[in-house]
C-alpha cells in the first residue's frame, strides 16, 4: 500500500492540490458582500509576504524611475547640440531653471487641489505610493505602501485629488491592497450631481464604469458629473466618480444605463490618499473602535 502511494504520489498530490485550491477559491469568493471589516487583515504569513514584496517593488522601480528621468533629460537637451558651447550651457541652465519653476507651479497646483479636497472632506487622509498593479486584466487592484501600522484598515476609501480610486480590501502591517473602482467586483452608491438621480456605479474591468439602476427617462445627460451619495455604507458623500459619456436604454427596458469616464486617470496612478475613515455601518460591523470614524475623526492636519 505504502509503495503504491509512493508510486502515485505526484498524481495524488496533484488531485489533492486541485481539490484544496478549488475549495479555497469557492470559500474566498471576493465580493463587496463578503467584505469583513477588521477581519480582512491578512494573517502572519501572507502579511509578511506583502510586507516584503511592497518595499522590494519600490526598490526595483527606483532605478527605472531614475533612468527614465535621465532619458527625459537627455531627450530634452538633444535639440541644443547645434548651438555653440556657451549658449548651450546657458540655455541648459535656463531650461533646468524653467523646468524647476514649472514643476514647482504644477506641484503647487497639485497641492492646492489636494488641500481643496481635504477641506471638502474634512477627514484625515494618508498619502500612499502605488507599489504594484494586477498583471491580469480580470482584476483591477493595486498594492500600496501603507498598512495597519499607519492606521489603514479594510473598508477605507482611497482617493486622489481628482476623485475616488477605490477601497482598501486587505491590509498587512506595512502594506495594503486597494480594489480599484474599475474592478468588476466594485459597486458604489452614487448620484448625478446636477439632477440628484441615484444609481449604482459598477466596474467593468475595462477603463470605463457603468451607471446602473436608474429608471428610464430619469434626468441623466452626457457630461453630468457623478458623485458618491454616501448611502452605500462605504464611501463618504460628495466624492467625484466620473463624467457621463453616454446614456442608453435598449428596447422596452425599464432601466437605463450610462457609461462613465472615471475622474481618476488610473493609467497614471502613482500616488493616492487613504481616507482614514470608515462608514458607521462598517464601524458597527467591525467593532474596531480604534479606527478614526466620523465621530472620532481628529481635526484635519
Amino acid at each position: 500500500m505504502r509503495e503504491l502511494l509512493y508510486r502515485f504520489r505526484v498524481p495524488l498530490l496533484f488531485v489533492a492540490l486541485v481539490a484544496l485550491t478549488s475549495a479555497t477559491l469557492a470559500a474566498d469568493r471576493r465580493s463587496l458582500r463578503t467584505l469583513r471589516p477588521g477581519r480582512d487583515d491578512l494573517s502572519t504569513v501572507p502579511a509578511a509576504l506583502l510586507d516584503i514584496a511592497v518595499p522590494l517593488q519600490g526598490l526595483l522601480t527606483a532605478p527605472v524611475d531614475l533612468a527614465r528621468g535621465l532619458v527625459r533629460r537627455y531627450v530634452a537637451l538633444t535639440g541644443l547640440r547645434s548651438e555653440n558651447d556657451a549658449l548651450r550651457t546657458r540655455l541648459s541652465e535656463l531650461e533646468d531653471e524653467n523646468l524647476q519653476y514649472r514643476e514647482a507651479l504644477l506641484e503647487s497646483a497639485h497641492l492646492d487641489r489636494i488641500a481643496e479636497v481635504r477641506s471638502e472632506l474634512e477627514l484625515p487622509m494618508l498619502p500612499a505610493q502605488v507599489a504594484s498593479r494586477d498583471l491580469s486584466p480580470w482584476y483591477r487592484t493595486v498594492l500600496v505602501d501603507r498598512g495597519r501600522e499607519h492606521d489603514v484598515r479594510s473598508g477605507m476609501p482611497a482617493v486622489t485629488e481628482d476623485g475616488i480610486v477605490g477601497l482598501v480590501t486587505a491590509t498587512s502591517p506595512h502594506a495594503a491592497r486597494v480594489m480599484l473602482l474599475l474592478d468588476r467586483q466594485s459597486a458604489v452608491d452614487v448620484m448625478v450631481q446636477r439632477s440628484r438621480v441615484r444609481g449604482i456605479v459598477r466596474g467593468l474591468g475595462s477603463d470605463e464604469l457603468e451607471l446602473e439602476y436608474t429608471v428610464r427617462g430619469e434626468d441623466v445627460q452626457v457630461g453630468d458629473m457623478v458623485i458618491t451619495s454616501g448611502l452605500g455604507g462605504v464611501y463618504p458623500k460628495g466624492l467625484r466618480i466620473g463624467e457621463v459619456v453616454s446614456v442608453s436604454a435598449a428596447g422596452s427596458q425599464l432601466l437605463q444605463r450610462a457609461r462613465i469616464r472615471p475622474a481618476v486617470d488610473f493609467g497614471r496612478l502613482e500616488q493616492l490618499f487613504v481616507v482614514l475613515w470608515r462608514s458607521p455601518t462598517l464601524e458597527l460591523l467591525s467593532g474596531d473602535t480604534d479606527v478614526p470614524g466620523p465621530t472620532s475623526a481628529p481635526p484635519r492636519p
Partner: protein, 178 residues
C-alpha cells in the same frame, strides 16, 4: 531539495519583479514569468516538490493580486499538470516546442479564468481589451518560455534536482550474449 527551495525563492522574487514591472509597463506587455517558471518546473524538474512549489507560487500570486485566494494556485497546479502530461507524450525539450506549449497554456489559462468567473460570478468577462491582452500575453509568454526554461533547467541541474532519468531501454535483439 536545495534546488526546489532556490526555485521557490527565485519564483517569489520574479513575482515581486513582475508586480513592479506593471507600474511602468502596460500589464499586457509584461510576460507571465511565474507561469513560465511553473512550465519550466514541470518540464525540467518534475516530481512532488516541484508541484508544491508551483502551488505555493500560485498562492503567493493570489496574495499579491486582487484575485480570490486559490485562483492562481489552481491555475498553476493545472498548468503544471498539463505541462507534465504534454511532456509524457511529446518531445518538449526544443525551444519551439516549449514556446508553443507556453502559448497554448496561456490561452488555456485564459479559458479557465473565464470559466471560473462564470461559475463564481455568473458572467463571462470577455471583451476586446481582454482578448487583446490574452493575445499579447500568448505571444510574449511563447517568446520568453525557452529562456526561462533554460534558467530553470540550469538551476535544477546545478543543484542536482532534475528528476531521475528515464530507465534506459536495451536495444538488443533479445538473445542473450554467449
Amino acid at each position: 531539495m536545495i534546488a526546489t527551495l532556490v526555485l521557490l525563492v527565485v519564483g517569489l522574487l520574479v513575482l515581486v519583479l513582475q508586480g513592479a514591472l506593471t507600474t511602468f509597463l502596460p500589464a499586457a506587455l509584461c510576460p507571465d514569468f511565474v507561469l513560465l517558471i511553473v512550465i519550466g518546473l514541470a518540464l525540467h524538474v518534475g516530481g512532488a516538490r516541484a508541484l508544491l512549489v508551483a502551488a505555493l507560487l500560485g498562492y503567493a500570486g493570489d496574495l499579491l493580486s486582487g484575485a480570490p485566494l486559490g485562483e492562481h494556485a489552481l491555475l498553476r497546479v493545472l498548468a503544471f499538470g498539463a505541462a507534465r502530461a504534454a511532456n509524457r507524450s511529446l518531445e518538449l525539450r526544443t525551444p519551439i516546442a516549449q514556446a508553443t506549449l507556453a502559448g497554448v497554456l496561456t490561452l488555456l489559462q485564459g479559458v479557465v479564468l473565464v470559466g471560473l468567473a462564470w461559475l463564481l460570478e455568473g458572467r463571462i468577462p470577455v471583451d476586446a481589451r481582454t482578448l487583446a491582452w490574452l493575445g499579447a500575453q500568448t505571444v510574449l509568454n511563447a517568446a520568453f518560455a525557452p529562456g526561462v526554461g533554460m534558467v530553470v533547467d540550469a538551476i535544477a541541474s546545478r543543484a542536482g534536482e532534475e528528476e531521475a532519468p528515464r530507465r534506459p531501454v536495451a536495444l538488443g535483439n533479445g538473445r542473450r550474449a554467449p
